[in-house]
């Protein structure tokens, strides 16, 4: 087992599934790259290089460069999925999803239900999300609450390279449309990732730490931050459970509630905007179902409800930090009625 980056882990998952199943295809803007420039094949592999190397192995018939028209190629991918292929479509930034929303929430997400269960739509839409890339408010949003809100879609937020490979393999083998969100500042994160193919089931949260003082529920990139905060707090005798739900739809309510009940003190960390977000959703879930076990109010650590700022100092202040998580946990741990 070798150390692999988040980027390599994703690439390996897609390549292994393409080898295993000839119906798996890849499409998106510059997924190969260099079109029209003689001598430049496989120039890009997508804007951050995740699909690099796929075209030379699988050819242009299975690795398609598309025009910059999300509404066209996401619609094509949904149709291809409904008629027998397993497309993995890359929609560069989640921020651009707006132009093809009908294709996602009203078409791909509803085929199974509109055709009485006779149609399946094994579509994966890969997309980048999140702040920290100095890319301003149109290229830095999280937006997964919008897809989580839409029944018929599955929504995946891998928090590390190991998670990314197993969840991507599962996404490709899944018969429903999956929105697969990759945090753009995590592509070079590394950890041990098996060479063999493996799947991580959807709707099953992971516990990255186990403690008895406070439960931290964190999503995507925030899982790593929560772990760092937990490690610091452990030194002061505050031991935390860290829950990574892995998928926001389906959501592993059982594990979240069990962990909330065990400690009675909960902090939810989410990088998405706070209104109608996962933090509020999970806090409400706990408030409604685990109220009797709570020893303190559920605390949410989120950005303020503003567009992501462009000024680096402001952007850094915007994203939930390890220090903010730590402070929230201390607050909750020390709370008494």
């Amino acid at each position: 087992m070798a150390k692999k980056s988040y980027r390599q882990a994703l690439n390996e998952a897609i390549a292994q599934e393409m080898r295993r199943d000839p119906t798996v295809i890849v499409m998106g803007e510059d997924n190969v790259g260099g079109m029209g420039a003689p001598g430049e094949d496989d120039a890009w592999g997508g804007v951050l290089g995740v699909t690099k190397g796929l075209m030379p192995e699988f050819g242009r018939e299975r690795v398609l460069d598309t025009p910059i028209s999300e509404s066209a190629f996401i619609g094509a991918a949904a149709g291809a999925a409904a008629t027998g292929l397993r497309p993995v479509a890359e929609l560069m930034f989640v921020d651009f999803m707006g132009v093809c929303f009908d294709q996602i929430y009203n078409q791909a997400g509803k085929f199974r239900y509109m055709f009485g269960g006779k149609a399946v739509t094994p579509l994966v839409i890969r997309t980048m999300y999140g702040a920290g890339f100095r890319a301003a408010s149109q290229h830095s949003q999280c937006l997964y609450p919008i897809f989580t809100h839409t029944p018929g879609l599955k929504v995946v937020l891998p928090s590390s390279p190991y998670e990314a490979k197993g969840l991507m393999t599962q996404a490709i083998r899944d018969d429903d449309p999956v929105i697969f969100l990759e945090h753009k500042v995590m592509y070079d994160d590394e950890e041990d990732v098996p060479d063999e193919a493996y799947t991580i089931p959807f709707g099953e949260a992971n516990l990255t730490r186990e403690g008895d003082a406070v439960t931290i529920v964190a999503l995507g990139r925030m899982v790593g931050f929560a772990n760092q905060a937990a490690d610091r707090l452990e030194k002061d005798g505050i031991s935390c459970t860290v829950v990574d739900p892995r998928t926001t739809s389906p959501l592993d309510e059982d594990t979240i509630l069990e962990c909330a009940e065990e400690t009675g003190r909960v902090v939810v960390v989410d990088e998405a905007s706070p209104r109608c977000g996962m933090a509020a959703d999970i806090a409400a879930l706990i408030g409604q179902n685990a109220f009797d076990a709570l020893k303190a109010p559920v605390r949410m650590v989120t950005p303020p409800h503003t567009p992501v700022p462009f000024a680096p100092e402001l952007e850094d202040a915007y994203v939930p930090s390890v220090a903010k998580i730590e402070a929230a946990v201390r607050d909750v741990a020390g709370y008494s009625r």
């Binding site: 190991y162 098996p194 799947t199 089931p201 516990l207």
Partner: protein
């Protein structure tokens, strides 16, 4: 002329261990200890275990306090004769710590890494460590296990011997093709593996399913076996905790797996979060479910064990010892009763199905003793 000072350092239990925490000192400063006496309890993210004095002497200094976490190789304490002056001890500590970062880096670079070899038609992952020469020791894990099950045994035994631990087909990082999935096909792979790594004759240590494989190999190839240590070996009687086998195959979630793994040990506290995670990671690999199903169907048809034919046991002239946990819930220790009297059976009290983890020091001593 200064007296020798013996350093007690943080052991490396398993490939992934980088640091450990001193939970408890079991010997007082100034007390004299025997070689092999439990002097420390050490906790890693995977497991808690006792650490034995590497030599006899007086525990002159405890360097690391209870509750402190330090990297592998760090100085935990010192043994020396009471005649050794305090100043010498101080100088030793200073020298050790000055050299430590360099030594740790060198040790990391030199630490053995798993390798793969093709045995017959399946790729086998194995870890070889220890000194060249002498009859090698080969460690064979049980159903659902892997070479990391020997984390407390392989490094200790490797101090004096050439020790090889392998992942059986369908397990760990070996290929997931298990053929017919019976003891005979696994035994064939063991033979192919020994050929592939150039081991003509070995002392075999097998646990559970690995015990059945080692025993069958010895009966088929008596000349290739210098000795046998069978730890809670399979194949000696029909009874088996089939709920464990089926539960292990079915479990996909942490909680389920924790309950299943608790069957293995007398004290369920031994089953750590990391251990459960490692098993779940293994079970997610493509082909593992099918491999385990195949093995279970061949080895434990209708929930009973397929027993080994022991007619050829007389051909094995090499010494055989059997170690069994008295509280084994997977395979009852009474199954050893069917063995001929010449085979020594040691039942360990307060121990379940994993003596080599639950009572590692005792098992290591028994293996060492058998090696002469």
């Amino acid at each position: 002329m200064s007296q020798p000072i013996q350093a007690i350092t943080m052991p490396k239990w398993g490939l992934a261990m980088e640091e450990g925490m001193v939970v408890d000192w079991l010997a007082e400063e100034g007390s004299s200890v025997e070689a092999g006496q439990d002097i420390l309890e050490i906790e890693t993210t995977k497991i808690t275990n006792v650490y034995e004095a590497p030599a006899a002497g007086t525990l002159r200094r405890r360097i690391v306090a209870e509750g402190e976490t330090v990297p592998v190789g760090a100085l935990l304490g010192l043994l020396a004769d009471p005649a050794v002056a305090d100043s010498e001890i101080d100088a030793f500590v200073e020298r050790f710590n000055a050299d430590f970062s360099v030594k740790a880096a060198e040790a990391e670079a030199a630490s053995p890494k798993p390798e793969t070899v093709v045995a017959g038609d399946v790729s086998i992952n194995y870890l070889r460590m220890g000194s060249e020469g002498g009859t090698p020791l080969v460690l064979v894990h049980g159903f659902g296990g892997d070479l990391n099950n020997w984390l407390f045994n392989q490094p200790a035994l490797a101090e004096k011997h050439d020790v090889v631990a392998l992942d059986l087909p369908g397990h760990g990082r070996s290929g997931k093709e298990v053929g017919r999935g019976d003891a005979a096909s696994l035994t064939r792979v063991l033979g192919d593996f020994l050929d592939a790594v150039g081991i003509e004759r070995a002392h075999l240590v097998g646990h559970s399913l690995g015990g059945a494989v080692a025993l069958l190999f010895a009966m088929q190839n008596p000349a290739r076996v210098a000795g046998l240590t069978l730890i809670a070996p399979a194949g000696l009687g029909p009874e088996i905790d089939i709920d464990f086998v089926e539960g292990f195959i079915a479990a996909g979630r942490r909680k389920e797996m924790r309950d299943v793994l608790a069957h293995l040990v007398a004290d369920p506290e031994l089953i750590s979060r990391d251990m459960i995670n490692d098993v779940l990671k293994y079970k997610r690999l493509d082909g593992v479910d099918r491999a385990l199903r195949r093995l279970a169907d061949s080895l434990f048809p209708s929930g009973r064990q397929a027993s080994l034919d022991l007619d050829d046991l007389a051909k094995v002239s090499a010494p055989i010892q059997v170690i069994w946990g008295a509280e084994d819930r997977i395979l009852p220790a009474s199954q050893a009763d069917s063995l001929p009297e010449r085979i020594e059976v040691r039942r360990l009290q307060g121990v379940g199905h994993m003596p080599h983890m639950e009572a590692a020091a005792e098992v290591n001593r028994l293996i060492e003793a058998a090696l002469g």
